[in-house]
Every structure is written in structure tokens, then in C-alpha cells.
């Protein structure tokens, strides 16, 4: 799937779909989100246009000479949960990260017909090879936490939360759980 994605494409996705993403994403994690919240509160511009955008929660290792980026796997998305519903309401459409999201984020995803993808946590070296361009566009002083505009090519991601409110983290576990309820 190409990014930015159309609303139809997003709505056609279902929790559990394995998708190869190509196109533009922006990286932002804890510190950048805190600054973006400040910017919104002060009516200032955000580092990138939010409407229809995709955010990858990630802070890379430094790139060796001649390389686009260092190791670049996902960080735990729930740390950004308190900032996310507002960004979704303002047009954010795709998030790539790992780990569960809060109920508020889940509701905002459905309300705004957005999608949350998981990238494989810990596969930082492999995933870095699916990033063909990366430029720091804001908050350079944050180092690894700066906002980067990146071009992905065939980046493997799994739909965890779709526009209809399905959640793969809940359903997949049920399939393989053989523990008794009271354990």
C-alpha cells in the first residue's frame, strides 16, 4: 500500500492484514509529541501537515557513512497515547508502532477511520533496509527523537487496529490461550 493512503484503502484494511507500506511517513516519539502538543496549544505550526499523514513511532541509531539510517524498529506506542486522540481528530490517519493502545485512542481511531499498524519489535536491522530516504525536518536538538520525514519501500507492517474497531492483540491471543481463567 502506498502512503499517503486514501480513505477507501484504509477502510478496506482488516486487523490481521500483512501489508507492505511504501511512501511517506514522519517519525515522532515522546519528546516530539510533547513539543507538538505545545505547538498546538500555542496555535503554532506543526513540523508536518497532519491531514492524511502517517506517523512511525521510532528513534533510530545513527547511520553509518553512506547509509540512509541506522537500526529503525518501532517503539512502544502507548507512551504517545495521551497525545494521540487530538492528532487523530486533526487528521492523522496512520500510526506504526508496537504494543497496545488506550481506550481513548481506540475510540479516536474508529471515530476518525484511522489505522494502527504494528511493525515487528526488535527487527530494527531488517526494517532499516526498508527505509530509502530519511531527513530530519524538525526538533534536531532532540537527536534520536527528532522528527524525520522518511520514504518507506515495502516496509512490512501488520494491521492491529482497523477502522471498524477490531484489535488483533485481543483476538490473536484468544486463539492460542490455553490457561485457565483463574490463573
Amino acid at each position: 500500500m502506498n502512503l499517503p493512503a486514501t480513505d477507501d484503502q484504509l477502510q478496506s484494511l482488516q486487523a490481521g492484514d500483512y501489508v507492505y507500506l511504501s511512501g511517506t511517513v514522519y517519525t515522532a516519539r515522546d519528546a516530539a509529541h510533547a513539543r507538538m502538543k505545545e505547538a498546538l496549544d500555542q496555535n503554532q505550526d506543526l513540523p508536518f501537515p497532519l491531514k492524511g499523514s502517517a506517523v512511525y513511532y521510532m528513534g533510530p541509531t545513527p547511520a553509518r557513512e553512506g547509509r540512509v539510517i541506522g537500526s529503525a524498529g518501532p517503539t512502544t506506542a502507548s507512551r504517545m497515547d495521551r497525545y494521540t486522540p487530538r492528532l487523530l481528530d486533526l487528521g492523522l490517519k496512520i500510526m506504526i508502532g508496537k504494543g497496545r493502545r488506550s481506550k481513548e485512542v481506540a475510540d479516536a481511531i474508529v471515530r476518525n477511520k484511522a489505522v494502527y499498524f504494528a511493525a515487528v519489535g526488535g527487527a530494527g536491522a531488517l526494517l532499516s533496509k526498508c527505509i530509502v530516504k530519511s531527513d530530519v525536518i524538525a526538533y534536531e536538538d532532540l537527536g534520536t527523537e527528532a522528527v524525520r520525514k522518511m520514504e518507506l519501500k515495502d516496509f512490512p507492517a501488520i494491521v492491529v487496529m482497523d477502522t471498524e474497531g477490531r484489535n488483533l492483540y485481543d483476538t490473536a491471543k484468544e486463539t492460542y490461550c490455553t490457561l485457565d481463567r483463574q490463573e
Binding site: G59, R64, G99, R100, G124, E145, K173, Y176, E183
Partner: protein, 289 residues
């Protein structure tokens, strides 16, 4: 005569040697996992019942190969440096102050090794220290004239899911089991399963946590010498793998690769339990100087 004898047996180690080794170990640990961990992931991939889970475990194996061959850190979270120093009491360290020597090694390793600078100076103000120092250093005095150094960079996806439970003595083995399962199941996908679980039972609030971290250093598949503890390790591993959480929490039968438990004497009124969760990128490098 006695004092002459003592001086004769003191062995001097230069602080620069410590710095150089720590630098190398920081880099080593982030580019290559120890063979027991690599094998545990490969074995997991073979046994995994979920097709998606199996594919994920195979990618994790592929990731390890790519990381080493192309010199890209295994995971982008190259961790906060946790350094264990077991210092023989007949050692004398010459040169810089030991802690400074360790931090200089971390600084050099994280800079020269293209590793991420993931440490903030103050936990509330949060300005990045830009060199991944300071490390968290655990020192222990042992017998002899060597220094055994372990560098175990710790990623915080899993660290954030770790817990301490101050149980009551009456809670017993069952209480311990429930505590560990609670910690791992509530962590779910967030700790990047399959995880390695370090458990510390006994001691005090900080001792049980510290034992839990030390337990992560043990070779995957090795067990406690104490029979009931060994049994608990095996039982917990099975139970965790029945939770269904699976590789990166997307369902399956491989949620944990190992459960390692340490115990220590404790107070008559207490049963402290520390659960330190580590993801599948369980990194450590060990050298003896």
C-alpha cells in the same frame, strides 16, 4: 611480614584497560547476541504453532544475521548500559576513578559503535546526555585478583514492564507464580515477546529487583540448583507459553524463551518478588580482566 605478603598479592589493573574493554563490550553486545539466545529464538521458530508467529520468529533470526553481517545494531534501542563489576578484593585499580573509567568506556562504545544515545540527565527535565552515559553500575566484591565485567545494555520497552510485588509470606509459591504471570500477561505485546523473564524472590525491595536483573544474565535453558526453584522455572515457562500472547504479541505459543529465578534469605514478615522482563534481544557481554 604480614603486610609485605598482602602487598605482594595485590594485583594492579589500569583503569584504561577497563575503559577499553567496556567500549568493546558495548559494541559487541549490540551487534551480536550470545549463542544461547540465538538458538532459543531459532528453536522457538521451529516449535511455534501460529503461522504468523513462526514467520515473525524467522524474521527475528534473519534480523540477527543482517545485524551482524551489515553492522546494523540488532535493535534501535541500544539501551541504557547496565554494567556489573565483580571485583576481586586483591585488585587495586590505578588511574581514573573506576566509575569514570566505566562511563568513559560506555561513551566511547556508544559513539564509535554508532549506537543510540538514549539517556537523559534528569528524569523530569529530560535533556539527553548525548553520549548514553551515565551507566547503571552494580559493584560486588569477590575473592581473588580479577575483575569480571558484564555489560548488559537494557532496552526500555521491556524494562518498563518490570514489576516488584511485596507479597505476604502466606501467599507462598502460588502467590509468586501469580505475580510473575500477572507481570508478563499485563505486559503482553509491549515487552516485545518472546521474553526472557528474570525473577528475584526474597531479600528486600531493592534486592529482589537486583536479583531479577542478574537472573537475566543466566544462559537460556540453564536452571537453578534448588529443586523447587528449577521446577517453578519450568512450570512458569510453560504457563507463560500457554497465555497465547505469542511473538510480538500477535498470538502464538512462544511468549517466553526462558524463566530464570534467583532466591535470597528474607525477613520473617516478607516475600518480596522482583520480575525483570527482557525482550528477545537479551544482550550481554562478559569479560574477565
Amino acid at each position: 611480614m604480614d603486610s609485605l605478603k598482602r602487598r605482594k598479592y595485590m594485583r594492579t589493573i589500569q583503569s584504561e584497560e577497563i575503559t577499553r574493554n567496556i567500549k568493546e563490550m558495548c559494541m559487541e553486545a549490540n551487534y551480536r547476541l550470545a549463542p544461547d539466545m540465538e538458538k532459543a529464538i531459532a528453536d522457538g521458530a521451529e516449535r511455534e504453532e501460529s503461522p504468523l508467529g513462526r514467520e515473525i520468529l524467522q524474521s527475528l533470526g534473519e534480523n540477527l544475521t543482517t545485524a551482524w553481517e551489515e553492522q546494523i545494531p540488532i535493535c534501535q534501542d541500544t539501551g541504557m548500559a547496565v554494567v556489573f563489576l565483580e571485583i576481586g578484593q586483591d585488585v587495586h585499580i590505578e588511574g581514573a576513578f573506576l566509575e569514570d573509567a566505566v562511563n568513559e568506556g560506555v561513551r566511547q562504545g556508544y559513539t564509535e559503535g554508532y549506537l543510540r544515545k538514549s539517556v537523559v540527565r534528569d528524569p523530569i527535565i529530560r535533556e539527553n546526555t548525548k553520549d548514553n552515559t551515565p551507566a547503571v553500575i552494580h559493584e560486588k566484591i569477590t575473592e581473588g585478583d580479577k575483575i569480571r565485567i558484564t555489560v548488559a545494555p537494557k532496552g526500555f520497552g521491556s524494562e518498563n514492564m518490570s514489576r516488584v510485588f511485596m507479597l505476604k509470606p502466606a501467599d507462598g509459591l502460588d502467590g509468586v507464580r501469580k505475580a510473575v504471570l500477572t507481570a508478563v500477561c499485563e505486559a503482553g505485546p509491549n515487552a516485545c515477546p518472546p521474553v526472557v523473564v528474570g525473577v528475584g524472590i526474597g531479600g528486600t525491595f531493592e534486592k529482589c529487583a537486583s536479583m531479577a536483573k542478574e537472573a537475566l544474565l543466566r544462559e537460556a535453558g540453564s536452571h537453578s540448583d534448588i529443586p523447587y526453584v528449577k521446577e517453578l522455572e519450568e512450570e512458569l515457562l510453560q504457563d507463560i507459553n500457554r497465555s497465547g500472547i505469542g511473538p510480538v504479541g500477535l498470538g502464538g505459543t512462544t511468549t517466553a524463551l526462558a524463566v530464570n529465578i534467583n532466591t535470597y534469605p528474607t525477613h520473617i514478615a516478607g516475600l518480596p518478588v522482583g520480575v525483570n522482563i527482557c525482550c528477545h534481544v537479551n544482550r550481554h557481554s562478559v569479560r574477565v580482566l
